[in-house]
């Protein structure tokens, strides 16, 4: 019985649907890149500082203060920044780390679009519709459209 080297599954066994494989691969690699960026950003943040003053952040965090108070006291923001604030602060260590976190959170969004395209290739109309609905919900959420309408 011939088996695939990576998975140990026989070559004549049922193949997993392409849409699933596409989703898994895209999500995994994007998350991994995001995690590395976030870790590098945090290390720089710990040895230097960032947009949000780290000692102040730690004090306020441990004092149970809300996100609004932390932004106001530690980053000098009169209002909590809404949307993708880190895109303008990528040169700051915590902005970079937050960019990595956001990239990681984007993994499933991109993966779902990839899965929808793969499902379309397999001509599974109902599941193309399901995948598109999920992809649209995730995209609207990531763009902040759903959150900002609230």
């Amino acid at each position: 019985m011939e088996v695939e080297k990576e998975t140990g599954i026989p070559k004549d066994a049922p193949q997993p649907p392409l849409a699933g494989v596409v989703y898994g691969e895209i999500a995994y690699w994007i998350l991994l890149i995001g995690m590395v960026i976030a870790a590098v950003g945090l290390i720089i943040y710990l040895v230097s500082d960032g947009y949000v003053a780290q000692d102040c952040l730690l004090d306020k965090l441990w004092d149970g203060q809300s996100a609004e108070t932390i932004w106001e006291d530690c980053a000098g923001q009169t209002e909590i920044p809404e949307g993708h604030w880190y895109l303008e602060k990528l040169s700051k260590a915590d902005g970079l780390a937050m960019g990595g976190i956001a990239l990681g959170c984007l993994a499933a969004v991109v993966g779902m679009w990839g899965a929808a395209i793969a499902m379309f290739r397999d001509r599974q109309k109902l599941y193309v519709a399901f995948a598109l609905i999920i992809a649209v919900v995730l995209t609207l959420s990531a763009l902040g459209i759903i959150a900002l309408e609230h």
């Binding site: 599954i9 066994a13 999500a27 441990w62 996100a67 976190i101 919900v137 959420s141 902040g144 959150a147």
Partner: protein, 335 residues
């Protein structure tokens, strides 16, 4: 005398030492958090340095990752109640971070499950629509409660989360017997038309497993509720997904567990963005927790060989009951 003899007999077994090791570790976690909480300055902050804070939460999250997966639940369902019950950190920030770490664990696990066909991609898309939509609704509701209800909103969230965590612990304890390969003699026409049946290669028995599912309409309703809870309380949803897939829709246990793990990543992605957009995630707290949970999840694979998950399950139940009761008491005290 009998107790002493029993103790001596148990002390010779690896099981005894494994459980002792985990209890000691959990005590170390609790003591570490409690000590850190006590080390407050006059201004109400902590005397911990940011680097010490990083390593403290890295260590705590590694242990949470190891213990949670050994007990058969995702990281979020242990992380969020534990952090809310035992740290003074704002619940909104904890829920945002809890969702993020649950999401990371899920996406890391998705790849091998989908490559092996263990996670049923059609089942994922079918369940993902109600789950993702209601996870967003839950996250928006959490933001609304925080803004409009102030301290009483915080009290309600702690109280309800406490009750929920106690309920989940009960579900894990008395949740009924899960069948590895449930037998389906007949299925309803709605589920049949969805074409959710699939086959995969089962490595442990060395043969192809073909399966069907049933009761899809009930599943839709339950996925809506699970998504809402997941978004509202920043919990992963592994505790609910596996029973829905396996006990309600009768998917094989491994398929249910794998599909649940992948689906959590989808739902949590939908739920986490409203928190990110409202700047509820802080890197100093989120990154060590993320790294710790992923490392803990990876380490447990080696540990699983030596420790039976069943014993750890009871420790998780005890931990969840403890966290849940503390959240209920906190919630009542805040009213």
């Amino acid at each position: 005398m009998t107790i002493w003899q029993g103790f001596c007999k148990s002390a010779g077994s690896p099981r005894f030492w494994a459980i002792t090791l985990i209890i000691v570790t959990l005590l170390v976690i609790g003591t570490g958090i409690a000590d850190a909480a006590e080390e407050t300055t006059d201004t109400g902050g902590t005397s911990l340095s940011p680097i010490a804070f990083f390593f403290l939460f890295l260590f705590i999250s590694i242990i949470i990752g190891m213990v949670a997966v050994l007990g058969g639940v995702g990281g979020g369902v242990v992380f969020t109640p534990l952090m809310m019950g035992f740290t003074p950190i704002d619940s909104y920030i904890i829920r945002a971070t809890g969702l993020f770490v649950a999401l990371c664990g899920s996406l890391v696990a998705a790849r091998p499950f989908l490559r092996r066909g263990l996670a049923n991609v059609k089942l994922l898309f079918f369940a993902g629509v109600p789950y993702a939509i209601f996870a967003v609704v839950g996250a928006l509701l959490a933001e609304h409660m925080k803004n409009s209800m102030g301290d009483s909103g915080e009290a309600i969230i702690r109280l309800v989360l406490g009750l929920l965590v106690v309920g989940i612990a009960g579900l894990i304890l008395f949740g009924g017997k899960r069948a590895e390969y449930p037998e389906i003699k007949s299925t309803d026409s709605f589920t049949e038309r969805l074409g959710l049946a699939m086959s995969y290669w089962e490595q442990s028995i060395g043969k192809v497993v073909s399966y069907k599912v049933k009761r899809a309409p009930i599943g839709i309703g339950l996925f809506c509720g699970t998504g809402l809870i997941s978004g509202l309380f920043g919990l992963g949803a592994g505790w609910a997904m596996v029973p829905i897939f396996n006990m309600v829709m009768l998917a094989p246990l491994k398929v249910a567990a794998a599909s649940s793990k992948v689906l959590i990543g989808v739902g949590d992605t939908a739920a986490v963005w409203p928190y990110i957009m409202k700047s509820g995630i802080f890197v100093l707290f989120a990154v060590p927790c993320m790294i710790g949970l992923v490392i803990g999840t990876m380490i447990r694979a080696r540990m699983l060989i030596k420790i039976k998950a069943g014993f750890v399950r009871y420790l998780i139940i005890a931990l969840m009951l403890f966290s849940g009761i503390k959240l209920i008491i906190d919630g009542i005290a805040k009213f």
